[in-house]
């Protein structure tokens, strides 16, 4: 138990590092784009190896980058909830009441403050958690999950989400979701600018300057093209291992590998995509919500471009946990009603 405890502190530290790196890379990327724009449409140019002019757009980009990072950090959860079309979950039906109760139960089991609960009106069973820290966390479930899961399965799913909250995965994933969206928007913007206002607009200046400016512009252009792909790759790489870890932590909370196992098996059977899940927030969900994502390809390429490990492999790992548990005698605190 203490070993596990140390584990999650380590995970939390890793997530802090990753979030800081992410924001840093994002701001640098922004500044690079600003610099490119300065050369192409702004007043900046190279003259005898010296920079001439004021890098107005670079500084503007720096400010925008910082502001957007702050907005993402404090408003990211709200943005994610809005883009998922989620609304606050209220105890207006017995099943909704039960979900709210199970959220309480699992927050006690995980020793985390209770997250606020949200609902997406969609028949596909799925769930995600987001927020900047455990004190400001939200858990979002779909109506499909509410309708199809019994109490035990809900405990497994919500335990998985609370593990993401405890490990600060929610913060990293939220920043990726919101900043990736920002980078794509910026890339689009930059491409429009360079096509319509950029290259042809310069009238004076000698060839050398134009060449230098063009080279920077091309470099930034490539960067802008690659940025969305690059950030998508980050999102994929960091989230897959987390799913296994959160599955294991869910079992640690429920002391019952069957809970999440049954839930995942159920979800694997239904395989329905979510209507309102965009690519930008797909990596937040407990199972990939995108169309055609549920198939269980295990090849290298499939692994490289999917945000989630194959469901079959997660189910297999949980089965192994269940087998281990069956072999050991009942421990002090194994009795649990569900």
């Amino acid at each position: 138990m203490t070993a596990r405890h140390a584990d999650f502190r380590e995970l939390e530290r890793r997530n802090r590092r990753q979030t800081v790196t992410l924001v840093f890379v994002f701001v640098v990327l922004f500044c690079a784009l600003g610099l490119g724009l300065d050369f192409v449409i702004g007043g900046l140019r190279l003259s005898d190896g010296h920079l001439v002019g004021f890098p107005f757009l670079t500084i503007l980009a720096l400010i925008i980058g910082c502001v957007q990072s702050l907005v993402s950090y404090y408003g990211g959860a709200a943005l994610v909830l809005t883009s998922a079309h989620a609304r606050k979950l209220s105890p207006d039906s017995p099943k909704h009441q039960m979900v709210l109760d199970v959220v309480q139960e699992m927050s006690l089991a995980s020793r985390m403050p209770a997250p606020r609960a949200y609902l997406i009106d969609d028949p596909a069973p799925n769930a995600f958690a987001t927020g900047r820290d455990p004190q400001h966390s939200v858990i979002c479930v779909t109506q499909g999950l509410v309708d199809q899961m019994d109490r035990e399965e809900l405990q497994g799913v919500l335990g998985h989400e609370l593990a993401h909250i405890r490990d600060y995965d929610i913060r990293t994933m939220m920043m990726i979701a919101v900043l990736v969206g920002g980078v794509s928007m910026l890339a689009d913007f930059f491409m429009r600018w360079s096509f319509f206002g950029g290259f042809g607009a310069r009238d004076d200046s000698d060839n050398e300057q134009r060449e230098a400016g063009a080279m920077v512009a091309v470099a930034v252009f490539v960067l802008a093209l690659l940025a969305p792909l690059f950030s998508q790759l980050i999102a994929m790489a960091v989230s897959r291992q987390r799913e296994y870890l959160a599955d294991a932590s869910s079992v640690e909370f429920t002391r019952n590998p069957r809970a999440l196992l049954r839930a995942l098996e159920h979800i694997a059977r239904t395989e329905s995509p979510l209507a309102n899940a965009s690519r930008g927030i797909a990596h937040l969900f407990i199972v990939n919500p995108l169309e055609g994502a549920a198939e269980d390809g295990e090849g290298f390429f499939n692994n490289l471009f999917s945000t989630h490990p194959p469901l079959s492999r997660r189910i297999q790992r949980l089965r192994e946990l269940l087998r281990e548990r069956m072999d050991v005698p009942v421990t002090v605190q194994s009795s649990r009603q569900s």
Partner: protein
């Protein structure tokens, strides 16, 4: 040079003592907080039980014994003079409720009573929250005790009077009680 090394060592030791002491305090607080979480749920259970018994006794004429046992255990827990007596009564209450829930399965009319269903959900989640809070409490105790008993933190713990905390043991009879599913609707494969 030598004096600098000595000063350095003193600073390091002081730093360690501070950190070790603070983490012990944090762990002790987390044990106390975990205990409060159990207490809150136990009290909530005390409030809910009279309502449940009132709502079901009309349907369950032949289960007077169980109903009385549950109410008596509840009253003993509320009036308990000491912690030990109280925990004993609470454990009997948990067992009694388990029996009551199991018996309620035999009365399909209860499933149609919205008031009963609502109380059942409230009590089910309270039972689960007690169990999870107890689990969290025991985890917190394990952490604190491991810290207090292992070197070198045990020196700090002894100096400042930190004592190992007691585990919350699940009563033996509770483990025999069959698990009850009170979830609404969805039938459960087991």
């Amino acid at each position: 040079m030598g004096s600098w090394i000595i000063i350095g060592i003193i600073v390091l030791v002081a730093l360690y003592l501070t950190l070790a002491y603070n983490s012990l305090v944090r762990m002790r607080n987390s044990v106390q907080n975990a205990w409060r979480q159990i207490d809150v749920q136990l009290r909530r259970r005390h409030d809910l039980i009279p309502n449940l018994v009132d709502s079901v006794k009309g349907y369950m004429q032949f289960e007077r014994n169980t109903l009385t046992q549950v109410i008596e255990a509840r009253n003993r827990a509320v009036d308990a003079p000491t912690q030990e007596v109280r925990l004993q009564a609470e454990n009997q209450l948990t067992a009694g409720l388990g029996r009551l829930f199991a018996l309620m399965e035999n009365y399909p009319q209860l499933k149609a009573d919205e008031n009963v269903l609502q109380l059942q959900e409230q009590l089910t989640t309270t039972e689960n929250q007690i169990a999870f809070a107890r689990q969290a409490y025991n985890d917190a105790v394990l952490e604190l005790n491991n810290r207090i008993e292992t070197f070198p933190a045990n020196i700090v713990a002894n100096q400042f009077g930190f004592h190992p905390a007691d585990y919350f043991q699940a009563p033996v009879e509770e483990q025999i009680v069959p698990k009850v599913d009170l979830s609404l609707g969805t039938p459960r494969a087991s």
